[in-house]
Subunit: 195 residues, 2 copies
């Protein structure tokens, strides 16, 4: 092996999404020159996460336990199940403090170009979860992008076929924005979804 | 300890320069969902780099050995010493194939705002290296930024005081560019440095 430790580190940093060779070099330089303790902390955190992080048996999000903290909380409203794409989306909803039901985390979205259809997305897991308990309403909170909409559409069909009420987050003008600066398709949707 | 492995990983990823909380979440999600082998490779590379990478005894760059590959090469021109800020700058010069002397890698540049003066930069190491052997000319290849220019200025004083010939990379119009699109200060410098 002729690769130096530095080259190996630059290569490994390029495994991170959005990191090209220039950023990887800058990161390696920074860690080795200014923050070796940070580099060791990152190595340990990666190791422990790979070993310790698994999927929640009920909602499929990342967790260190068999069940995540939210699924373990028996005081939430079991009649509502909110479907999100990622743990970050779930965290955003939790921060609003205005949802008290449970979640199902898809860990992705349908993306035909990447070969991810409903089955690769694990839609079967959602169908099982949505029909196993007291769920009455499934709120689809996938992104308002082409792929997120396609995901919502496909899941909606399956859920409705199982007799569940299916809703979608409202599209509309973001709070605090002036109409003049909002893009046209958002205004058009807000008009259609007016109440 | 109540922090989850996932939170600890997001925190650790934020040690990387230019990585905020959103990017760190996206990176952690990608590694755990799609590339656990990549995460383990990165953990190992960090560990080995922290353990194995040190500074070359002659030129101060990163190396796995006591002397780096370039300093170990006895076929280069010992009369020329090129001063660069980082290993990446050195690599860029090497790729041109038009320099056959040795290097000194500062591993930074003077930055009064960050409290990095000539001594923090290890200028003493450069002075020792420049005067120890057969060096006749020191080529200052620090950046053409305010900090890079300040660095070149300070080092130049010390090197000239030791009787060395000091040169600087030429400023000018980049190869392949149309004058119309080159910024004015570059054109002005190219006029002054015309040959
Ligand atoms: Zn869960
Ligand atoms: Zn060296």
């Amino acid at each position: 092996m002729t690769t130096s430790h530095l080259d190996a580190l630059v290569d490994a940093l390029r495994k991170l999404p959005g990191v090209g060779v220039k950023s990887a070099q800058r990161m390696a330089f920074h860690l080795l020159q200014h923050d070796r303790a940070g580099a060791q902390q990152l190595a340990r955190a990666l190791d422990e996460a790979v070993r310790g992080v698994r999927h929640c048996a009920r909602c499929h999000t990342f967790t260190d336990q068999a069940l995540c903290a939210i699924c373990s909380d028996t005081h939430r409203d079991a009649r509502q199940l909110c479907v999100v794409e990622t743990p970050a989306d779930q965290a955003a909803l939790e921060r609003t403090g205005s949802y008290r039901g449970y979640y199902y985390v898809l860990m992705g979205r349908i993306s035909p170009l990447d070969g991810i259809g409903a089955s690769a997305l694990g839609a079967a897991g959602l169908m099982a979860r949505a029909t196993e308990g007291d769920v009455e309403e499934v709120i689809l909170a996938t992104s308002f992008t082409a792929e997120g909409e396609a995901t919502a559409h496909v899941l909606s069909e399956g859920l409705k076929a199982r007799g569940l009420k299916v809703t979608r987050l409202a599209r509309g003008v973001p709070a605090g924005s002036e109409l003049e600066y909002v893009d046209l398709s958002t205004i058009a949707h807000a008009l259609v979804d007016r109440r």
